[in-house]
């Protein structure tokens, strides 16, 4: 029996198959489901039904299963900053912060203390080892690739992380689950922010935490062209739901939290040739050589574009729509993740 591995099981098909694959390859596997959220939500991984699915899959695989209650930390490190970010006009990615603080933060720490050699998840990404260290490579199923939300993993985390389903396409994952008769084989994917229910929606959730402040919608010249009920409904680059009809396509150019002002303009007005990034991390521990050509990805399923890193500024080879502050900019060399950062205001 090989070294013990702790698998984070959400109750979904990917992590169910991740656990199954590790069991099949002879690992000493233990499953854990994180209870992250105490509030109401129908879309996330914290409902009793999802925990029960994870527990039943673990029982079917004949592995121990635990529930870790990280709700306090999740509120402090993921949910509260999410609400604060929107209130300050940013567009946060809570899945990224959850991976950083929960799965590859607190869970990894606890796994270490309990003597587990590795932590596995159901993420679609591939881990490679070479003489220069560990690398994270896009998942075999490019349409499902999740390396972007794992941009913060460094050598310390990559040494312990395992992504068993990263080598498979989603179709293969489901086929595998069906072959094993796992109850999660046909379970639909969760697409939404796990702590916000579909019924409630983002704006009502945010409104319950930070009172919405109505304000003006202005054009690029500062002329008031409309009004809004709160900036939380707007993100830079957004085209729909602006509540303003100008006859031509308009995009959100800027969200100013201090004055609750939303600025809109044409797609040309939105283009930028650079973006400043914060909280830079690099898988290798140090940045790639200056002006080394990179592929830059600025949203979870966006197409990467050419560019390079210049200190804490990413520069695009051709102008790109402005990156909303709070969004991740991930750097790739081909399919290999080099690191990333968070777009600054």
């Amino acid at each position: 029996m090989s070294a013990p591995v702790l698998v984070a099981m959400s109750g979904g098909v990917d992590s169910s198959v991740a656990a199954a694959l590790l069991v099949e390859t002879g690992h000493d596997v233990t499953g854990v489901t994180l209870k992250l959220w105490g509030g109401e939500s129908d879309s996330g991984c914290c409902s009793v039904g999802d925990v029960e699915d994870a527990r039943r899959v673990a029982a079917q695989l004949d592995i121990p299963h635990y529930v870790f209650n990280f709700a306090d930390d999740f509120e402090a490190k993921v949910v509260a900053p999410y609400a604060d970010d929107y209130a300050s006009g940013r567009t946060p990615n809570p899945c990224v912060e959850c991976n950083r603080s929960m799965k590859f933060g607190r869970l990894l720490e606890r796994a270490d203390a309990l003597g587990f050699e590795a932590v596995a998840t159901g993420h679609h990404a591939r881990r490679r080892a070479s003489e220069s260290g560990y690398h994270l490579v896009r998942g075999a199923d490019l349409a499902k690739d999740q390396s972007y939300v794992l941009y913060m993993l460094g050598q310390r985390e990559l040494a312990r992380a395992r992504f068993p389903v990263g080598e498979l396409t989603k179709t293969e994952v489901r086929a595998h689950a069906a072959r094993l008769g796992l109850r999660t084989a046909a379970k639909p994917e969760s697409m939404d922010v796990c702590f916000i229910s579909r019924r409630e929606g983002r704006e009502r959730f945010l409104g319950s935490r930070v009172p919405a402040r109505p304000g003006a919608v202005v054009d690029a010249a500062g002329v008031v062209v409309g009004h809004h009920e709160g900036i939380a409904g707007f993100t830079i680059g957004q085209r729909r739901g602006l509540g303003v009809s100008t006859g031509e396509r308009r995009y959100v150019l800027d969200v100013d939290a201090a004055t609750a002002t939303v600025t809109i303009g044409s797609r040309t007005d939105l283009l930028r040739d650079a973006a400043r990034v914060e909280a830079l991390t690099f898988a290798a521990g140090s940045p790639p050589p200056a002006h080394h050509e990179l592929l830059l990805q600025v949203r979870a399923h966006g197409t990467p574009v050419a560019g390079w890193l210049d200190g804490d500024v990413v520069r695009f080879a051709t102008p790109q729509p402005r990156v909303a502050p709070g969004q991740v900019v991930a750097f790739y060399d081909g399919d290999t993740l080099l690191g990333g950062g968070i777009a600054a205001a």
Binding site: T33, K35, C46, Y66, N69, E109, A113, L114, G115
Partner: protein, 392 residues
């Protein structure tokens, strides 16, 4: 199923059935299967068994057979007592006040929350640092509008025995119209409930805590005490708990209670010695550990211990991986460990509460169980300390 490879230290959660109880119930699962409410010979046999079981339960609980209402467990008995007595009082115009303690079992607390939503005034009396109800606070909470008072006999997490005589004296003096309920679920294996719960009007017990089957309990409803039923139907259990009688469960509960009462003195002496050895061993091996609940006032099977800087949730996993079964806080439906409302009610710092676990012994406990705990816990605490310390 108890495996010899496991050191089971979670008897406050549940116990294995006594062999006597298994043997006693067996005929009533097959041969004597009839519905005791029927009018034929088969029904009469079942009815006789049910009523003999009730008589035995009543005798062992120091009450009369007609005062024993059989229920589907302790939580149901608590709900019937608290909601039933409060609603009956309201219907009779006898007040809308409910007084309980902050560290009751959820079966009582959730029932009180429900009554509060229905317009009752609920007061939750404070608990002192040792885990004993604050009698001054109780006295202040009682008044002429108090309809129901619910104070547990033994706390399920820290094992402290509550001064029910003193509680009853205060209730009779300050709220003579009130009905006094006690949740005695955790008391039966360790103290003579017939005597200890004598001053209460309503007494809840649960069979699986003393070697009986799960899903079987009873509420003692003393003569003259009115409670409104929760479950209505065929009018079984004097109309207080409708539904076809669980004859096998009642017979098994009676058998388990009989054995428990017969062996209680010897079990208490033996288990207290085991528990004391466990406590001494932990104190010696982990000098900064702390014990929760007044040691002089707790039942023999309870050891509630905290390890500064160690997350109980992680410690329980480490123990489980080493074959030691223990518990912390109370389990919610998802299985996650929630911070203990009992320790919070006692005024413990949240960090200390989250660093505490319950090791509960029972009649089957052995020296080997204590040896396993002492061989495992100090090492696990040592290994987990850096994580907790880093977070402190």
């Amino acid at each position: 199923m108890r495996s010899d490879a496991l050191a089971y230290l979670d008897y406050a959660a549940t116990t294995p059935m006594r062999p006597e109880a298994v043997a006693a119930m067996s005929p009533y699962l097959s041969d004597v299967f009839a519905n005791p409410s029927g009018g034929h010979a088969a029904a009469r046999a079942a009815k006789t068994a049910l009523e003999e079981a009730r008589e035995e339960i009543a005798a062992l609980l120091g009450t009369e057979p007609f005062e024993v209402v059989l229920t589907g467990g302790g939580t149901e008995a608590d709900n019937l007592a608290v909601k039933g007595a409060a609603r009956a009082a309201r219907d009779a115009g006898r007040g809308r006040g409910v007084v309980t303690t902050a560290f009751e079992h959820k079966g009582v607390l959730a029932a009180c929350d429900h009554l509060e939503r229905d317009g009752f005034r609920v007061k939750r009396v404070a608990i002192d640092r040792g885990g004993i109800v604050d009698l001054d606070d109780l006295a202040a909470a009682l008044d002429g509008d108090t309809a129901v008072v619910s104070v547990m006999l033994v706390n399920n997490e820290i094992g402290t025995i509550q001064p029910l005589d003193d509680v009853a004296a205060l209730v009779r003096e300050r709220a003579p119209q009130a009905v006094l309920h006690t949740d005695a679920v955790q008391a039966v294996p360790w103290i003579d409930v017939a005597a200890a719960a004598a001053p209460a009007d309503l007494v809840a017990v649960s069979a699986h805590k003393f070697g009986g089957p799960k899903g079987m309990g009873a509420l003692v409803v003393r003569e003259g005490i009115v409670v409104a039923p929760l479950v209505e139907g065929g009018g079984q259990e004097r109309g207080l708990r409708s539904g076809t009688s669980n004859v096998a469960g009642a017979v098994a509960m009676a058998a388990a209670l009989r054995v428990t009462a017969t062996e209680r003195a010897a079990v208490v002496t033996r288990v207290a010695a085991l528990r004391d050895r466990l406590v001494a061993g932990l104190a010696a091996a982990v000098p900064d550990c702390f014990f929760n609940g007044d040691a002089a006032r707790k039942v023999a099977g309870n050891c509630h211990v905290g390890f500064p800087g160690v997350e109980a949730e992680a410690l329980l996993v480490a123990l489980d991986r080493a074959g030691v079964c223990a518990a912390a806080g109370s389990s919610c439906s998802s299985g996650a460990t929630e911070p203990s409302h009992v320790l919070e009610a006692m005024g413990m710092a949240r960090a200390d509460a989250l660093a505490s676990i319950r090791l509960s012994l029972g009649p089957p406990s052995t020296d080997a169980d204590v040896d396993a705990a002492l061989a495992t816990i100090p090492a696990a605490v040592e290994r987990l300390r850096p994580v907790g310390a880093a977070r402190a």
